[in-house]
């Protein structure tokens, strides 16, 4: 078996039936990580010993137990803002460098219980704040498709790791597009679940009302496989949903007949690179040829989404990040008194983008500004949600480009935060409305990947995966950039 050419589902199947040992699988991937990640820097820490021990444990299980594990022996990369018990969790920040959590995230626990083996932690923009992974305190990640370009962000490390096949599966987090945009930039599949579908317990909060953990994978099926395992109610997260978890794989291979795809003019006009638009439109044409319908729809409040997002997310972030004060854990700067302890720790511990958003959010919540910023942004949020509700009365899913552009050059946007924020234009609405959305590869522009996004009604993940699977069928499979010739 050529392990590296095999999907997560196939790996798990081979390990379950005993065709191959989990230890062998893990060794193959660890080998690849050692060879390739020096240049990519997709990973912040690798747990060779722990991964091997976990794999051996799986191999020693009685066969009847192993056969029940949907992810038996599948190596998993976990974004470094999701807590793991054996590897440190830094959130890409100096303030948490070397921090070991006393507990593990529910999503990781569930993946591990399903047989996944955590091999490494993925790089990210500090605390998830960024769209390029250049805002990591530990250096940027390179895009496997073009090493001088960014992998997107903030889950750039996990996305690059999947594209470079450093692992078959990864867990990312998405607050305004942080799974989908890097998935698009790296030519892979990334899904942001409905708000509440996956427990946030153990995810280091950026913006609590927007954050969701979700899967990154090379195929829709593999993404569904991981989503299946991590979804569902968690008593430790009061915002997790009791809605029953659908079977995401049962009908995956059955194309949706007469799928009604909403095409919102707001996501195909100004601000979207024409080449990106053409790639997406061309996929839509192929889907139409297969029987899908496209319907022009209107999501009139889209133009306010970026503004609303960049008030709500920083507001919540300013509060969530207050706990990093140097008193109990993480980095502590030298100080002469309490106030300077706070000031020095936070000034030295946080990077520039984090400081910018904390200040923005603090201002938005300040007395005298709260109503005109935070409250107004929440009203916009309600209107955006209503736009989608109305759209879903007419269509099954809404389609957009995942990102308005192809991966941009490393360092090209570092000094232009507003331009950087515009990268989120297609993705933030799903977070603001709490809706699930998936990004699937749609093609290339001059060798650079382009992603297509479907947004669906709440808890329509099964539908989104089936629609994504249809896209896979009409898009030529890429030749992966770092795969062996």
């Amino acid at each position: 078996m050529d392990t590296l050419a095999t999907s997560a589902g196939e790996i798990a199947q081979s390990v379950r039936v005993g065709d191959v040992s989990a230890e062998h699988i893990v060794n193959v991937y660890l080998d690849r990580i050692r060879r390739l990640d020096g240049e990519l820097h997709a990973l912040l820490s690798v747990d060779e010993a722990g991964a091997r021990a976990a794999a051996r444990m799986l191999d020693s299980l009685p066969a009847e137990q192993r056969t029940r594990l949907p992810l038996a022996g599948v190596p998993l990369v976990v974004k470094d803002n999701i807590l793991t018990d054996r590897l440190p969790t830094s959130a890409g920040s100096k303030i948490l460098a070397g921090f070991y959590s006393p507990f593990q995230a529910t999503a990781v626990e569930r993946a591990v219980a399903a047989g996944a083996v955590v091999v490494a932690k993925g790089n990210l923009d500090e605390f998830g704040m960024g769209s390029s992974t250049e805002h990591s305190a530990f250096g940027p990640t390179r895009n496997p498709w073009a090493r001088d370009r960014v992998p997107g962000g903030s889950s750039g490390g996990p996305a690059a790791a999947i594209a470079a096949n450093l692992a078959p599966l990864a867990l990312g987090s998405d607050t305004g597009g942080s799974i989908r945009q890097p998935a698009a930039f790296c030519g892979i599949v990334g899904l942001k679940p409905t708000y509440g579908r996956v427990s946030r317990f153990g995810l280091i909060a950026y913006a609590s009302s927007l954050d969701q953990i979700g899967p990154l994978a090379r195929t829709v099926r593999d993404a569904g496989l991981l989503l299946q395992v991590i979804s569902g109610l968690d008593a430790r997260d009061a915002t997790s949903s009791a809605e029953p978890v659908a079977d995401y794989l049962a009908e995956l291979e059955y194309p949706l007949r007469g799928l009604r795809i909403g095409v919102p003019s707001q996501y195909f006009g100004a601000g979207i690179e024409p080449e990106v638009r053409s790639v997406v439109m061309s996929v839509l044409d192929r889907l139409k040829a297969g029987g899908a319908q496209t319907v022009e729809i209107n999501l009139p409040h889209t133009e306010y989404a970026i503004a609303a997002y960049y008030l709500i997310a920083p507001a919540e972030a300013s509060s969530n990040l207050s706990r990093f004060d140097g008193v109990r854990y993480g980095f502590r700067a030298g100080a002469s008194d309490l106030v300077s302890l706070y000031q020095n720790t936070r000034a030295e511990g946080f990077g520039g983008e984090v400081v910018r958003r904390v200040l923005l959010g603090t201002h938005a919540l300040s007395a005298g500004y709260y109503d005109q910023y935070y409250v107004k942004a929440q009203k916009v949020r309600a209107l955006i949600r209503r736009d989608f509700m109305e759209a879903f009365a007419e269509v099954d899913v809404v389609v957009t480009p995942t990102a308005p552009e192809v991966p941009f050059g490393l360092g090209s946007r570092r000094d232009d935060p507003l331009k950087m924020y515009q990268s989120d234009i297609c993705t933030v609405t799903a977070n603001l409305a709490g809706l699930p959305a998936v990004s699937v590869p749609a093609g290339f522009v001059e060798g650079l990947p382009v992603g297509l996004q479907f947004i669906g009604p709440a808890y329509s993940e099964a539908l989104l995966l089936r629609a994504g699977r249809m896209v896979e069928e009409v898009v030529e499979r890429p030749r992966w950039p770092l795969d062996e010739p």
Binding site: S101, F103, A105, L203, S319, D325, R328, L365, S366
Partner: protein, 485 residues
């Protein structure tokens, strides 16, 4: 001292810790006095990735308390974050309720001297407590260091905010006592001010007579964290005198926060409101809105015990004096004792007289409450029966009660052991009476010549010869019969 052209305006904010088994948002024990930081977990330590989950029992207790104060319960309320940096606040925000508290518009009837009035409660909200700092020196600033103990962090609190309806220190004391009494009936808190399970902030301002504007416009002084009912009274008295003095001298009163020094009985300035914190409240995104059904609220209400005002009515109906009623209702243990005792002895006046005189004296001397009394309600009732049927004289009863107290034995047992029963047999007593008359011819003559007092002496002589066991009624009757012949 007080200027008649000003009226004193006092409002109180009282924090009450609820005595749930576990903390408000995690499973840690809610217990006073454990080793530092032993009752803690990632949630109450504010570790990254931890999330709060609401304790339903804390909600039940809070709602029960609010219903006992006749509050209106909001069926949909919300938690908010109150944000500030301090080492005893691990998340750098306190989960509280800001503009949608769970309870509003209640009232407390107070009695100050002979006057009765109603103090309105504006709102009651739920929040979590902070931890404790143990400074190695006098305070945070001057200490070489401070030790943080987070056992108390996350303990559920309710904050009861009164309207500024009180106009003296006496009324404030009466309000606090009544608050405490009602809460002790509802049984939701230990109410120990010295341990901090009940804490009080007092707002004091001076209103010009005839002032018709908003009280908010008056310069208000807030005295923070006073640690006993007595000290709240002292702090308010001092503050009234201080503000009156300033007004008399033509000086302005500064709106500020002041502390109270127990030793000097003075308040002192802590910070002026101009430099007050901006808490940047916003809705807590980690917790869904708190929804309470009418049905559930009704069930909490149905579970409330008989409250002090209802007891007052009932006891008045039984013919108990107002003063005794107040003593009884402020001590639920006393009331429980009375109720139990009345199951065995229906003479309410007899029971209350014995309870509030001899019983209370003995209990106070032994530093015991009625709940801890070695003489139970049934035993007291038995003693009263023995007096009622003439087995014991009143005086013998009092002596026996002391003996019962000391030994824990019942009245009947002691009477048998000590041969204490009252002698009522005419035949036995007639012998004693005859010999006393024979021995005191002079006194007999005095009596016959009209000196009524002489009879008392003769009764005393018979009592002495029977070591107090003779029935005074029988002796009296026999003496009269024989002397008046």
């Amino acid at each position: 001292m007080a200027d008649p052209s000003y009226e004193v305006v006092v409002g109180l904010e009282v924090h009450v810790e609820l005595k749930t088994k576990s903390k408000m948002f995690c499973g840690c024990a809610n217990a006073f006095g454990a080793g530092p930081n032993t009752n803690t977990c990632p949630v109450c330590l504010g570790m990254p990735g931890a999330l709060p989950v609401l304790n339903r029992e804390a909600v039940r207790m809070a709602v029960a308390a609010a219903l006992a104060f006749n509050c209106t319960i909001r069926q949909r309320s919300r938690f908010d974050r109150k944000q500030y940096f301090y080492p005893d606040l691990p998340k750098a925000y306190q989960i509280s309720q800001y503009d949608a508290p769970f309870a509003e518009w209640g009232s407390v009837a107070i009695r100050s001297g002979s006057t009765r009035r109603t103090v309105r409660i504006r709102r009651i909200h739920m929040e979590e407590d902070a931890g404790k700092l143990n400074h190695l020196g006098q305070n945070l600033q001057s200490s070489a260091g401070s030790l943080v103990d987070l056992n108390r962090a996350g303990v559920p609190l309710i904050e009861i905010v009164s309207e500024p309806d009180m106009s003296s220190a006496d009324e404030a004391r009466a309000y606090l006592n009544e608050l405490r009494t009602v809460l002790s009936y509802v049984d939701v808190s230990d109410l120990r001010m010295e341990e901090g399970s009940m804490r009080c902030d007092a707002n004091v301002s001076m209103k010009p007579v005839g002032f018709v504007g908003s009280l908010e416009d008056l310069p208000r002084v807030e005295i923070k964290n006073v640690n006993s009912v007595r000290n709240v009274g002292r702090a308010i008295e001092y503050e009234i005198a201080r503000q009156s003095r300033l007004l008399a001298a033509g000086e302005a009163i500064t709106k500020e926060t002041r502390g109270f020094n127990d030793a000097s009985a003075r308040t002192y300035s802590q910070r002026s409101k101009e430099e007050a914190n901006d808490y940047r409240y916003f809705p807590e995104p980690d917790l869904p809105p708190l929804m309470l059904t009418g049905e559930w609220i009704a069930s909490v209400k149905a579970g409330l015990p008989t409250l002090p005002d209802a007891w007052r009515e009932r006891l008045t109906g039984m013919g108990i004096a107002d003063q005794d009623i107040e003593t009884l209702v402020h001590d639920p243990a006393q009331l429980a004792f009375l109720t139990r005792c009345l199951e065995y002895e229906s003479d309410v006046r007899l029971v209350t007289t014995w309870m509030l005189s001899d019983m209370l004296r003995l209990l106070n001397a032994a530093d015991l409450t009625f709940a801890e009394s070695p003489v139970g309600p049934e035993q007291l009732a038995e003693l009263l029966h023995l007096i009622g049927d003439g087995t014991l004289s009143g005086r013998m009863g009092k002596e026996l009660l002391e003996n019962m107290f000391a030994t824990g034995k019942s009245a009947k047992t002691l009477i048998e052991q000590l041969g204490m029963a009252q002698i009522t047999d005419d035949r036995v007593l007639r012998e004693q009476v005859t010999s006393v008359i024979a021995d005191h011819a002079k006194v007999v003559e005095d009596y016959r010549s009209g000196k009524a007092k002489a009879l008392g002496f003769l009764v005393g002589q018979v009592m002495k010869r029977t070591r107090g066991q003779a029935s005074p009624e029988v002796v009296n009757r026999l003496l009269r019969e024989m002397l008046d012949e």
